[in-house]
């Protein structure tokens, strides 16, 4: 049975079907984000009476959450490595760190959105603001979804399900989480860096 197999074999337990399915899901998600990024670029000059990107966005406040989110890809990788060596408690430790980074990122983002809303910069103010909120918000929703997912993974690890199901869960989630980070690289560059420098 699965549980008796040696640690060296754990890699071969990777559910290849799940991984391919996840890759395809990411392909579909990429198209969604491409469309939303295109929408942002198209709408970025329609600011009406609202602020434009240079007025709205500042680089310094976004650096910490960006650093944490991108680091979480690395901490997750460590979790995966621990899992490969069947060190479940360390897996859970690194996964918790990943989760906390994601939650801090979400906190920053929610705070940012509230700050803007307080100044009256709401969704319906201008197409630029709407495209900003929808693009960044969709990514935020993915981080939220990933956080709930990580909570679920921790529970699975804690309750010690069969190791092969947990392993394939971790592997599938890994693809998703790295993808969410990669999307942030694009958003950070296109929206925050170029936006705050007045390119749009």
């Amino acid at each position: 049975m699965a549980e008796q197999k040696s640690a060296s074999q754990i890699k071969s337990w990777t559910e290849p079907d799940d991984r391919l399915g996840m890759w395809l899901f990411i392909a579909a998600e990429s198209v969604v984000f491409l469309c939303l990024i295109a929408t942002f670029l198209v709408s970025s000059k329609s600011t009406l009476n609202g602020p434009d990107a240079a007025e709205l966005l500042e680089l310094p406040p976004i650096l910490i959450p960006s650093f944490l989110l991108l680091s979480s890809s690395w901490t997750f990788h460590l979790a995966e490595k621990r899992m490969e060596h069947r060190n479940i408690s360390n897996t859970m430790l690194w996964l918790s760190i990943t989760l906390s980074f994601a939650l801090v990122f979400l906190g920053f983002e929610i705070y940012e959105f509230f700050e803007y809303a307080k100044e009256g910069y709401t969704l319906s103010e201008s197409p630029f603001l709407a495209s900003f909120y929808v693009l960044v918000g969709t990514h935020g929703a993915h981080v939220l979804f990933g956080s709930v997912w990580m909570g679920l993974l921790l529970w699975h690890l804690y309750t010690k399900r069969t190791i092969w199901t947990n392993w394939k869960r971790i592997r599938a989630f890994g693809l998703y989480w790295h993808f969410v980070d990669v999307v942030w690289v694009f958003i950070f560059t296109l929206v925050y860096i170029l936006g705050s420098q007045g390119v749009y």
Binding site: D17, G21, V31, V42, L123
Partner: protein
């Protein structure tokens, strides 16, 4: 006008809406009575929970046929309204006419053409490649129920405050900001969103199945062409439907949260057109490529010859797939992007005629010198070829930019795409149903009725749609509910309406054929009623539920035909059943879909408590599914000696 308030809208108490409510109630009551009287609730519940690809395929076919009748009814209303100049048929003028033609288009594209083919794929692809089931059976069931929920949303809109009326393309700014019925537009956005998610998951499922779950020896170049057509079509779904998802998400924001993405002044109406057609043009190939493959299989079987130019067929499919993402602006020639842009997209559009032409000639050469039989499936295939060529030629005509300024938004275009879609997809679906009926139910459809069905359909089809080209050339615009006597369009329109009635009668005859054959045909079609060549004809009809206990070993493109030639009675099979996971039937897909239906309902009527509750239930059930996953799977088969059999034992 009498009306009753319903959330943020009102339901008008006029004859057609009351008729709709009464007929919905009567049909619902009749269904409940039938299920109770015949004690079929248990069977219904079993089918709702099933994860079996064959059963899901049959449900796809049945459900999309129901939507086909609905979309057909809309078409009949449209044709009746257009039969005479200045006609006033019932209520179908102005807005109501727009609602009919919008619902007709939306239903036929999203809830008939696409799921009919997904149904055929579900039935045939795993049998053709020797897979036990799709890679993710649970997901397959979920996809199906999301499709049902999306279809239900579009279909109840007429009863609850009005259908979408901005045409199936839902161009902005018409579709936003109160220029058309807002409830209807919300139904459009949410219905397509829910169904689209299901369709994307189907695509993932089929790609993984075809890539990972082929029987030993079933190389890519040994796959039947229907499987090839399905593979490229689902790749298109995977990359095209997310664009629609993003587009309807933004449309929803515009209509519900007062953003202005697509608004005329501040936003960008062309953005919608781009997003929509980046999805919309590949969609045309999504619903025709599996049919291309299907016709290749059928023509080869009934010509008693292998497909002519198999490799070129595969290459042509791949080329069409590749090109289909580079042509979307040909829907937007009249926008005025200038000569360079238009020329590039015109050339890429015309290029598609090359691989399509290769396919047409290959079909003809497959028949050449063959021993041809003409059962109904073959009749539809042969009838398809000239029909589709007409549609293809008019396609090249509208691809010429200068000429397109004349054709654009005229009935010429309506004629063109009905030739491609009805002549391709619908005739293909009929052919597929006649062909694979024994694999689903174990009996063949009556051939005599099938012949009448084919000829009435073909004649009705050409009578309906051929005159439309001339209407368009004579200046009749699309989506306008009437014309004047002096326009000189009466004769053509009247012929078209007669043709529509013949087609309607033909479809009813097809339904009668199913009922008649069910009662009279012997249930002993046998595994191989057509003297078939490919893998699906090696197993019994109807396909047993434990098909492929041991996987077949494939060593030829036409395994069944090869073994017949060699005088063998059976294929080779793997030595033992290797380990694989089997998942139990589950009611969760139905519940998740129902929850998403509730969420979508909340968004449509802008009652966000309902919407959030629906989403919460959806994610709650997903968590529940994750927590109970281990209990819901079962091991089947045995370990191979090294513990590392192909595909199976790596599960654990």
């Amino acid at each position: 006008m009498n009306s009753i308030p319903f959330f943020n809208t009102e339901i008008d108490l006029v004859s057609d809406v009351i008729f709709g409510h009464v007929s919905a109630l009567l049909l619902g009551a009749a269904a409940i009575f039938f299920l109770s009287y015949k004690k079929k609730w248990g069977i219904l519940w079993d089918w709702m929970r099933t994860t079996d690809h064959l059963k899901i395929g049959m449900m796809y076919l049945a459900a999309s046929f129901v939507f086909f009748l609905r979309g057909g009814l809309d078409a009949m209303f449209v044709r009746l309204q257009l039969a005479f100049p200045n006609a006033e048929f019932w209520v179908f003028q102005g807005e109501k006419y727009n609602q009919m033609m919008t619902t007709h288009g939306t239903t036929m594209i999203f809830f008939v053409a696409t799921p009919l083919l997904i149904g055929l794929m579900n039935v045939a692809v795993p049998l053709q490649i020797g897979a036990r089931d799709l890679a993710f059976p649970f997901l397959n069931s979920l996809s199906f129920w999301l499709f049902i929920c999306g279809g239900a949303l579009i279909n109840i809109s007429y009863l609850l405050g009005g259908s979408p009326e901005a045409a199936w393309t839902s161009y902005s700014p018409l579709a936003i900001g109160g220029y058309s019925n807002n409830t209807g537009n919300n139904f459009y956005a949410l219905g397509l969103q829910v169904a689209g998610i299901g369709t994307i998951m189907t695509a993932i499922n089929f790609i993984v199945t075809i890539v990972k779950r082929r029987a030993p020896g079933m190389t890519y170049m040994r796959m039947p062409l229907f499987t090839w057509g399905s593979l490229v079509a689902v790749i298109l779904i995977l990359l095209a439907f997310p664009a629609l998802g993003a587009a309807v998400l933004l449309l929803m924001f515009d209509n519900i949260f007062a953003t202005e993405f697509f608004a005329g002044g501040s936003g960008n109406p062309l953005l919608w057109q781009h997003l929509f057609w980046i999805f919309g043009h590949p969609e045309v190939y999504i619903i025709v490529l599996p049919v291309f493959g299907l016709f290749s299989d059928i023509i080869s079987t009934f010509s008693k010859k292998p497909v002519f130019g198999y490799l070129s067929m595969v290459i042509a499919l791949a080329l069409i797939t590749f090109l289909s993402f580079m042509v979307w602006v040909h829907h937007m020639f009249t926008v005025g992007y200038g000569a360079t842009v238009n020329a590039i997209f015109a050339i890429s559009t015309m290029l598609i005629a090359v691989p399509t032409g290769i396919k047409v000639f290959n079909w003809l050469f497959t028949m050449r010198g063959g021993r041809i039989r003409f059962p109904t499936a073959m009749l539809f295939s042969v009838g398809f070829i000239p029909t589709f060529v007409i549609g293809g030629v008019t396609g090249v005509m509208v691809a010429m930019v200068a000429a397109d300024y004349q054709y654009h938004d005229s009935y010429f275009v309506v004629g063109h795409f009905h030739y491609v879609m009805v002549g391709g997809t619908i005739m293909g679906a009929f052919a597929g149903i006649y062909y694979w009926m024994p694999k689903m139910f174990g009996f063949l459809l009556n051939e005599k009725l099938g012949n009448i069905h084919f000829w009435t359909f073909l004649i009705g089809f050409h009578l309906t749609f051929f005159p439309m080209h001339f209407m368009g050339l004579n200046g009749m615009p699309r989506r306008v509910y009437t014309y004047l006597p002096e326009d000189g369009l009466f004769g053509l329109n009247f012929v078209s309406t007669i043709g529509a009635f013949i087609m309607a009668a033909s479809v009813l005859l097809f339904l009668y054929n199913i009922w008649y054959s069910y009662n009279t045909q012997p249930n002993e079609a046998g595994g191989d009623p057509w003297n078939g060549r490919t893998l699906e004809w090696t197993i019994a009809s109807p396909a047993p539920s434990d098909r492929w206990k041991r996987l077949p070993v494939i060593n030829h493109r036409e395994p069944l035909w090869e073994s017949k030639k060699a005088g063998k009675t059976a294929l080779e099979y793997a030595e033992h059943e290797e380990r694989h996971v089997e998942e139990h039937a589950s009611s969760l897909p139905v519940i998740i879909s129902a929850a998403l239906f509730i969420a979508a309902f909340g968004f449509v009527f802008e009652v966000f408590s309902i919407a959030i509750a629906g989403l919460a239930i959806t994610f709650g059930i997903m968590i529940y599914r994750s927590l109970t996953f281990d209990k819901n799977v079962e091991w089947s088969g045995e370990d191979s000696e090294d513990g590392q059999g192909k595909g199976g034992s790596i599960h654990g």
